[in-house]
Every structure is written in C-alpha cells, then in structure tokens.
C-alpha cells in the first residue's frame, strides 16, 4: 500500500487536497445553514397556517426568476471549470465573466425584492405592519431575511472571487494550480446555488394555490 501512496502524481495529489479542503469547508457551511433550516422546520411545523399566510407576502415570480438565474450561473461556472481543465484560458475568462454577471443579476433582483418587502411592511422589528398571523409572519420573515441575507453575502463573496479568478487569468498562462483554484471556486459557487435550491420552495412555494 505504501508504495502506491508514494506513487501518486504530485499534481493529482494537489488537486485532491484542494478539492477535499473545499468539501470540508462546505460541510461546515451546511451545518451553518442547517441550523436556519431547522429553525424554519420548527416554525412551519408548529404553525403551518401562519407560515402559509406569511409566505403569500413573498414575490414568487421574482424568486422563480432568481432560481433560474442562479441555476444558469452554475451551468456557466461548470463550463468555466471545464474550460480550465482543457487549458482554454479565453473561454474560462468569458464563462467566469458571465457567471459573475448572473450572480450580480441575482443580487439585483434580491435587492428589488427587499425594497418591495420594506414598502409592504413585512420587515420584523423595523417596518412591520402585518395584522394577521402576526407571530408566524414575524418569525417567517425574520428567518427569510436572515437566510436569504446570509445567502446573498455568500453569493457576493462568490462574485468577487470569480471576478478575481478572471482578472488573474489576464496573463497568457494557465498553470495547474490556477486550474485547481478555479475548480474549488466552482465547488463553492455550486454549493451556494444548491442552498438556494432549498430556500426557494421553503419561502416562495408554500401556499400558491387557490
């Protein structure tokens, strides 16, 4: 066994290490978001009617649009990672730019939603004018702002990181460690996308019928 361990190609070893380190980080991130999902489960299971009423204040079309934007950004990020593995530097830069632009578009739509929600008075503690299901609505929107806010911070970090990776590719070289960096940036980006995939039905799709 030890002979095969020593026979590992250093490049493969470095890629493996980088990938594994990012997965370990993402595991801790899942614990972090997991606590928010658990709080949500508590509120929803203890007052389903209240949560259903509260969720009708969210803007499901904007939420759906944002989900499509983010899923598409993961697609372009995956293509950037693929391009880097093939050594296609210009293609990588282009897809990184598109990914960052889609991420920024998501944040812009989220900002529009937050502005609407402020006007509609569903911001607990600051501007809250809801008269029915007050407790459930306050808890629901508190969780909504914390979860989507923390998610937006993660995405903003992702946008900056993607732009940084793109900027570093301006010189005509694509060394192996840069390929690894783009790969783990992609892992982070897809994770943030996957978190949104769960936030979307939990906040927007609770009670749309009737």
């Amino acid at each position: 066994m030890s002979a095969s361990v020593h026979a590992i190609d250093p490049r493969t070893w470095r890629s493996e290490t980088a990938s594994l380190a990012m997965w370990v980080f993402l595991a801790t991130e899942l614990m972090f978001f997991g606590a928010l999902f658990l709080a949500y489960l508590y509120v929803r299971s203890h007052d389903p009617g209240g949560v259903a009423a509260a969720s009708r204040h969210t803007h499901e079309w904007l939420g759906t649009l944002n989900t499509a934007i983010l899923l598409t950004s993961s697609f372009t990020m995956a293509l950037a990672v693929r391009g880097s593995q093939l050594g296609q530097r210009e293609s990588v830069r282009r897809f990184l730019w598109i990914t960052a632009a889609l991420g920024t578009a998501f944040l812009a739509v989220k900002g529009i939603e937050y502005a609407k929600e402020w006007d509609e008075g569903v911001v607990p503690g600051l501007h809250f004018t809801v008269a029915e299901h007050v407790r459930a609505t306050a808890l629901f929107f508190y969780l909504y702002f914390v979860a989507t806010g923390v998610h937006a911070v993660h995405l903003a970090i992702g946008v900056v990181t993607v732009l940084w990776q793109s900027w570093r590719l301006r010189a005509p070289a694509l060394p192996p460690w840069r390929v690894d960096e783009i790969d783990v940036t992609g892992l982070y980006w897809h994770f943030v996308d996957a978190i949104w995939v769960f936030l979307y039905p939990l906040f927007y799709l609770v009670d749309l019928h009737g």
């Binding site: 594994l20 595991a27 489960l41 598409t72 697609f75 593995q85």
Partner: protein, 103 residues
C-alpha cells in the same frame, strides 16, 4: 482532475434543472394538500443532487471526497433528529409574563 466531461453532460444537467424548476413552480399552484411540501422538497433534493453529481463532479470524485460529502449530510441528519426529539415532544406553555386569564 482527469479529462473533463463533455459539454453535453453540463447542458443536459442545466436543461433538467430548469425543467424541474418549471415543474415545482407549476405543482405549487395545484392544491396537493400535505403532498405539496413533500413534492417541492423532493424536487429540490433532486436538483441539489444533480448539481452535486454533475456540476460539482462528485460522479468522478475520489471515494474520500464522496465520503466527506455524505458525512456532511449525515451530520445534518443527526442535528435535525436530535433537535427534533426536543421540539417534537415538548408542549408549549404560556410564558410567565403572559397576562393570566380571568384576573
């Protein structure tokens, strides 16, 4: 990383994700009763698995990386189960500062 997957794999994953998004949005407008959250969370899980397997290339990852991904999910399941043991079995009593009725 070994040789990357063909573009077709990524395109098909993206199309599947958007189709699932349209499906979950459509289903949310139907009155499915208690099945509604089950359906939306099942679709969300399928989407997340597609992202993890194809975009995060778990499909080609080493056993160690797959193990860490599974341990993350397992850890979350423990968190939910043990916390649920408390929240699911505890009665909610009025807080001490609630104005007593009839006084």
């Amino acid at each position: 990383m070994n040789s990357p997957a063909p573009v077709r794999i990524y395109t098909m994953t993206w199309v599947a994700l958007l189709a699932l998004l349209a499906t979950t949005f459509g289903l949310a407008h139907l009155d499915l009763g208690a099945m509604s959250p089950v359906a939306s969370l099942a679709i969300a899980t399928v989407k997340a698995v597609l992202v993890a397997v194809f975009f995060m290339h778990l499909r080609r990852a080493s056993a160690l990386v797959v193990l860490f991904a599974l341990v993350a999910i397992f850890g979350l399941a423990i968190l939910f189960t043990l916390s649920g043991a408390d929240y699911a079995t505890r009665e909610i009593h009025a807080a001490p500062w609630t104005a007593p009725e009839g006084h």
